[in-house]
Structure formats: C-alpha cells, structure tokens
Point group: C2
Chain length 522, copies 2
C-alpha cells in the first residue's frame, strides 16, 4: 500500500514544511515510518478551502448529504484489510476489536444518513401569521441549520470510530458543514487511508473536494493556529483534560469566540450498595475487572473509581479478578508517560494502598492491570484522588458506613457516567441516584460503564471536567445538534425557505405547527 504521507488540503495532497514526525507500533514499541507535517500556512489554506465550500455544501438537500455519508461508509469498507492492518500496526488494539470498531464507525455514519433521509432532525417549528391580531402576528418558521467550517481533533483511543471519519466528522458533515480534521499524530497512516476514502466519496458524489480537509502534524503551533482561525465556527475534540482545557481557553480568547465540544477526563465511579455487595459481590468483581481491562483501560468510560463499604472478601475477589484479566498495550509512549505519572502520584500518596499491578515496564507498552485502595475520608479530602488515570487502573474507595457512601456520591466531580449496583427495594438506590445524576451525563444501574450504545437516547457527556458542554452529546444521533444553530425566517416567501419549512412539506418531516406536532402539509 502506497501512502502519500501528506495532508489533504483544499482538495489536494500537499506538503510544504519538510518537517516530519513518526508513526509508532505499540506492540514492538518502535517507530514505523515518517509522515510530513503540515505548516501553519497549510492549515490556513485548509480552512480557507472549507470556508469557500460552505455555501454550496449547506444547500445540498438532506438526500444528497445522506448519499455522501453512505458513500463514505462504502469507501471505508472498500479499504478492506489494509485499513484494519494499518490501524492495528499503529494502535495494537487487535484485529477483532478493530473489525468491530470499523463496523461501529460505518454504522454511525449510516445512522446519520438515515436521519437525513427522514428529515425530522431539523426540529422544524412553524407559527403561522394572524393578520387580525393587534399587533398583526407574523409568520415565523425555525429550524436547525449548519454553521460553517468545523474543526475536529480526533481521539487516539478510537482510531476509526473517533478518527478522521469518526463521530465528530460524521455529525458535522451530516449537519451540512465543511470539516477540517487535525489528524491525531498517533495514527497517521490510518488517518490518511480514511481521508482517501472520504476523497473518493466526495468525487463520486460530485461534491467539491475542499469540503473535507485533513491536516497531519504533531506541532502545538499548528493545532493552535487552527483553533484561533476566525473562519472556524466550532470545534470537536476528544482527548485529555489538559489538552481539552487548553483548546477551550484558547478558543475563549478569539475575537469571535466559538463553541468547543471537548470530551475529556472521566473516572466513571461505580457505587455498590451493601446489599448488592452481599448478594453479588463476586459477580460484580469479575464484571468490574473485565470493564477495567477492556481496551487496556483506554476507554472514556473505563471505571476508574469503585465505591463500597469496606469488605475484605470483595477486595480479594476484585484483586484476583484484576490480576487474572488480560493485559494489553497502551496506545502510544505519551499515554504510558501519562499513566506512569498518575500511578506515581497515587502510590506515593500516604492514604493509598496498592492491591494489584502499578509497576509499569520501562521498555514495553504492555501494561499490568492495577487496583489501589483508599478510604472515603481520604477521597473526600484530596482532590488529586478524583483525577482520571488513563489506563487499566481503578481506585477502590472504602467507606465505613452508608453515610460515607452518600457523602462520596455528593462529592464526585463531573463525569461521563456513574453506576449504581443495588438490589430490588434497596433503600440506598434512590438517594444515590438523586445525588449522582447531578454530576454525570449517564446513570447506569447494575451494569458497567464501558460499552457506549450508539442510539438516540445515548448521552455521552457530563459536567466539567468530563466535557466542556454538558448539554450536548458526542455519541448518538443528537451529536449532530452540536454543529447547528437555529435560524428563524419571518414572513419569508415559500421559494426562499428551506424545503423543511415550506407549506407543502414534500419530505413529510415532523414539524411543530402552531404548537401541534404533525407531518402534514399546511
């Protein structure tokens, strides 16, 4: 397979700087090959191309945008084993996982296409005129519309599902926006293959090639120049709290501030009531160990905190299960560096006891699964124990009594998820749920936080520091809303209105007309 090792900018594969960066194989822990870094000027050119494509792209019908998305999914699949093997070389995630992830990636792209074909997602609302009212009531019609070029920073931990053609790109395109993707430097070959698939789809659909751009490079300067580019209208990001907050802070300094949709750190605490511990402690220990080790702990929803009443038997069960769980590879040396820093801070904390793992290899990215323990009092007093350690590690918070369990629930920071393990008629379930929902985007009962269903009811978000924008979601069909804004049209002639707002409603979309939901023509 021949790669250009360049960036796709304004419809062309180009490079200008002469600077390069290396891809890396986590299993061998060796560099693979060099890729060209785009310059700051290349980035400007990519954004300019996206800006110029906007007025044509926003006016494509939903059916035309759906065809583009479906063709993108076809082109991803047409990459065949090349894509899976390349992604495996760059991530070490294994072909089984990556095959599943490719399926999810194409499914979520096709799910947006299905939404576009159906059409009701634009939330059309119509209030008709009343000339006899004093003052006369105008005709007002409102729907979601695209916003302009969107900048996407893909994640390292999902090279496909949150990669170049992952959820952020798919939802931004679905909404009608050009997209500039700053590819993650941890998997540049995978990124180039995905961009090639997108280029082929654009050409086959007759859509301008500058509608999607992909910029390769590892420099902070390049990333920052894209964030402050005034033509960018919104940013999607998945990654660390440190990187996400720096993007939020930089975007806030722009002459024209824009929304940043950053999905960042989360410890996904799991609370186990005394009743559940007694009845199902062993099962829960095994379930937790599998969830912690899954994907080498590199999931946004990995359970990083477990809260229960102190119980020696459960500690032993959980420790055994974690010691028995499969060991995998961290994605990249920078993730190993981050995890070592987190582990070092934890094991050097006087109030923390090591139960399993924590000794990371110096010359390999293969990583033990770790379990450490602390007391509720220590957890409540020490903010550093609330921070995410990204990798296969979890902190067991031992409470003395039920009041401490509730106090810990009240004190958790913003998270993507919280989980309650409880029994039927469990008196602790209700107070735990009442407290935990204030801090999370998704509340799970008797399950595990890993495994994020892609559907309309999914909410993959949560209060800061989990996310920058707790009201929105980055997974599920409502992810499209992030890259839209409502526009109202007052007394607009039919011919000038978007089709979803015209009297004849040829698409038969559901609309709220004079406060009643219907799909009829007016």
């Amino acid at each position: 397979m021949n790669l250009t090792k360049k960036s796709f900018i304004n419809g062309q594969w180009i490079t200008t700087t002469g600077e390069t960066f290396a891809s890396h194989n986590p299993v061998t822990n060796q560099a693979i090959e060099q890729f060209n870094s785009a310059s700051v000027d290349d980035g400007k050119e990519a954004v300019l191309g996206a800006k110029l494509s906007f007025n044509a792209f926003k006016n494509l019908s939903g059916l035309e945008r759906a065809s583009l998305l479906e063709q993108i999914a076809v082109e991803i699949e047409a990459l065949g084993d090349d894509l899976l093997n390349t992604a495996n070389d760059e991530t070490g995630l294994g072909l089984v996982r990556l095959t599943g992830e490719r399926g999810r990636t194409c499914n979520q792209i096709r799910a947006f296409a299905t939404m576009l074909k159906e059409g009701s997602w634009v939330r059309a609302t119509i209030d008709t005129a009343d000339a006899n009212r004093t003052p006369p009531k105008p005709d007002l019609r409102r729907m979601l519309r695209p916003i302009g070029p969107v900048l996407v920073f893909p994640a390292s931990n999902f090279p496909l599902a949150f990669g170049v053609l992952g959820g952020d790109t798919a939802s931004a395109l679905a909404a009608g926006n050009p997209v500039v993707i700053k590819a993650h430097p941890a998997h540049p070959a995978t990124s180039e293959l995905c961009m090639l698939a997108a280029e082929r789809a654009l050409i086959k659909c007759g859509i301008a090639s500058n509608t999607i751009a992909m910029v390769q490079g590892s420099s902070l300067e390049l990333a920052q120049s894209l964030v402050v580019n005034e033509a960018i209208q919104a940013i999607g990001f998945t990654g660390s709290l440190q990187a996400g907050r720096s993007i939020m802070d930089l975007a806030a300094t722009r002459a024209t501030p824009i929304p940043v949709y950053a999905e960042m750190g989360s410890t996904n605490p799991v609370f186990i009531t005394p009743d559940a511990l007694t009845k199902r402690g062993s099962d829960i220990a095994n379930g937790l160990a599998a969830s912690i080790a899954m994907g080498t702990g590199q999931f946004c929803t990995s359970p990083g905190v477990i809260v229960t009443l102190k119980n020696a038997q459960f500690e032993h069960q959980l420790t055994d299960a974690i010691n028995s769980a499969n060991q995998g590879y961290l994605l990249h040396p920078s993730i190993a560096t981050g995890l070592k820093k987190s582990v070092s801070s934890l094991v050097n904390n006087d109030n923390v006891e090591v139960l399993a793992g924590t000794t990371l290899a110096e010359d390999s990215l293969k990583t033990p699964n770790s379990l450490i323990a602390t007391s509720a009092n220590a957890f409540l007093a020490d903010d550093s124990l609330h921070e995410e350690a990204f990798g296969p590690i979890s902190l067991l918070v031992n409470c003395q009594n039920e009041a401490e369990l509730i106090a810990v629930a009240d004190a958790i920071h913003g998270n993507l998820t919280a989980t309650i393990h409880c029994q039927d008629e469990d008196a602790l379930a209700q107070p735990l749920a009442q407290s935990l929902e204030n801090h999370v985007g998704r509340l799970i009962v008797n399950g595990y936080p890993t495994g994020v269903e892609v559907c309309a009811s999914q909410q993959h978000s949560g209060p800061y520091p989990a996310c920058s924008s707790p009201a929105t979601t980055s997974v599920g069909s409502d992810a499209i809303s992030r890259f839209t804004r409502f526009i109202a049209y007052q007394d607009m002639p039919q011919a000038l209105l978007p089709v979803e707002l015209r009297d004849d409603n040829t698409l038969q979309v559901l609309r709220q007309v004079n406060n009643h939901v219907q799909n009829a023509a007016l």
Copy 2:
C-alpha cells in the same frame, strides 16, 4: 408603597454593607432614592441558599413548577399600578409601553407554565433493551433535566420582560433551577417589587424561599464574584457587548467553566433591493423611522444599519420621517454617555455624513432621532462602522450597484436579525437571503426587526457579537433549553426514573420510542 431597599438573600430581606446606590428618573434626569448594596459575602450567601434548594426544587413535578410560575404572574398583576408607576419613574418608558410589557412578561411566564403542564418539552427519548442482540442492548432513556443554580443579569431596556422576573428567570425556573438575580442598578425599586411578587408566590406554593434570590448593587466586584462562584451552573445576560464579553471571559477562567448565554450588540441591518426602493421607498422610509424611534432606539433589534443603492429621494424621505418621529428619553445617564461616545466616533469619521439629529443634550436624557450616511466602500473598509450605537440612530449605507449590496451582506458581523425588502420575483432576494442567513438568528422579509414575537418559532440570538451562544434563543419557548442538560438513564428501575421516562407515561408526553414519535405507554 414602602420598599425595604434591601436584597432578598437565602429567603430573607437583608443588607450588610452600609454602601448605597441611587435610582434615577430619566425624565427629570434626577436621582430618586438610595438603595442598599449587597456585599460580596451577601452574594455568596444567596448562591449557597440557591444551591441548597436545588435537590428539592428539581424534583417538583412539572405541574408544581407550573403552579409556581402561574402564581408569580398573578402576583405581578396584583402589584397593579404601583409596579407600572415605579417602572415608569425609573425608566421613562411611559405607561402605555410598560402596561404592554407587563402583559408580555406575564404571558411568557404563563407560556412556560403551559409547556410544563403539557410536558413534551423535555424531549424524552427511549430505546428499549434487546437481550438477544450480541452484545445485549441496554435500555436507555434520555431527557432534559435541570442543571442547578442559574445566575441572571437582567437588562436595562426591558425592566419587566427582561427584568427580575423576565424571560431568563422564567425559563430557568421553568426548567427546575434555583435562580440568583443580580438586579440591574438602573431600576432597583422595580426589581424589589418583582422580587416581592416572587417571594409571595414561593410562600403560597410552599416552595423554599431560597429558591429565588435577588442581589441589589452597582459594584463590579459584586457582579464578578457571582460569575466566578463555583456553585453557579449557567449565566443569562442581556446588555452591552462590553459587559457581556467581560462575563464570558471571566466565566472561561473558572475552575469549572460554565455556559454564558449573553445577548449583546446587534445592528440589525435592513437591505432594500432597487425594485423595492422604486415601488415602496416612501413606505419603507416611514416604517424604518418608526422602528428606529421605537423605545428611543433602545431595542436589541433596533435597525441600526440600512443598506440600499444610493437614491436621493429615499434619503430625503427617510431623513424627513426620522425628523418627524417621536423623541423619547434614554433609560439612564450611562446609556447617554455610551450613545454620545458612539455618535462622536461616527460624526468624526471622514466617511460619514450627518443627515438628521446627532446633537445630544447635556442636561437632559430626551434624545433626537439620528440618521447618518456612508458609502459601501467605507463600510466595507472600516470595522468601527459595524459597531452598535445603542439609541435612536441608524447608518444608511449607500451602494453604487447590486454587487456592492451583496458585498455588504457578505461582510456584516453577527447579528440578531437581518431584513430584506424586496418585490415578488426579485432576483436579488435569493442571493441576499443566502448570504445574510450565515450572519443572523432571524431573517425577515418585508418587515421591520423591532417587535419580537414570543412563540415556539422565535429565534432571538445570532452569531457573535450578537450573542455568546448562537445555537440557543433567549426569547420563545425554546429559551428553557439553555438551562438544562440531557441525562441518560441506563437499565434504571421504573421507580427511579423521572415520570416522563416511565413505561406508563401518565403525562402522555410525546416521546421518541425506538425512533418513532408517540405519546402512548410502553
């Protein structure tokens, strides 16, 4: 009428500082009376009270919150002429306008109550479980939920409709959030009367009095301390770009950044095609003059820019109409200072010609209506000509040809509204609409931007600098969404779910169940 001249904090009328500030009568241009300023500690206490009230308030049913809102409207009306006379003393807006504004204020509060009673606004979505799928599909249910204490900065230009019990407070309460209001120092007596109405409603409904707090004062330190209070979860603001941006910037520095919904500066450009100018120039001139002078130009949607082909007859008609329009009073000396600064910058601009008004009195807040003119070239080259001048003044941008008209449309900054005056089959209507919708929240055809209908289809927002959050609206029923976030519940027992998500759907709310919209039980 006896006023406490204090702040309502944690359910009590209190003051601690001894510092005071004066209310002001715009018609006499004299101070009226002194009010006590709350201290920074008072502000903290108000937020703490609101925080403590949250868990009880969020669990009230929609019917219970609707009763509170309806009682608030009743208590506002029960204030009778005292409220109207007090607001007139503090704003000079006149009893006719203020009577209308009181009606609008109570209508919008009752409209939220109606939404709560109907219940579908929570956008409930349900995806049911499928145990036979591999992996098993969980049961996921998602809806909008309240977020916690909301800080509201009311506007000076709508002492009732965007005052202490205006749209921001009403929508935040409707969503289930406690509210802390930093009353506008331009109308403290009006604010106290509104807070008294709210207190009476809370007591009659048996809801904790710390659910709503009102903090009086004019110090920057007090306002800033509220913005950075970590218990505040979102901020609503209506006012100047300078003040709004400073709140955005300060909120972005918080340990936990929060959304700021700021409605700020807008020039609401009105474009007139050559055809419309020929056929209806005189009518449009009269309509524009009335819109510019309305409320002494102190509307967010006042038409501050008029764009057309240069036409001497229209200039004369518009100048005459503006000279003939009623003159009113500016709301406050600080608004007069701001307008004088804007006018001075404009009349000293070499590329601007004065057609009417611009000479503001030194000792009175009664203000002439003003019209100035410039060329399209000057407008395109000079960002200062795009800035809002808050008051009864408009800038006529004279174009040489249709290409310049389109170029000006492409160049306008973010605005709440843009308006197109055109004729049937007007070839310019489509390109103008395509360009202008990229910059505004509401696009109007053959009307005037003042007059903001309160309904589901209203979008009172727009790209920065008009608003901080162009995707949301501060007027209309969707204003409630700003103070919510989605929460998903996974495999949650029926008894722990909010009623809107339970199988039996006793409220019969519209829900999307497995991708189909219905109001049936499961």
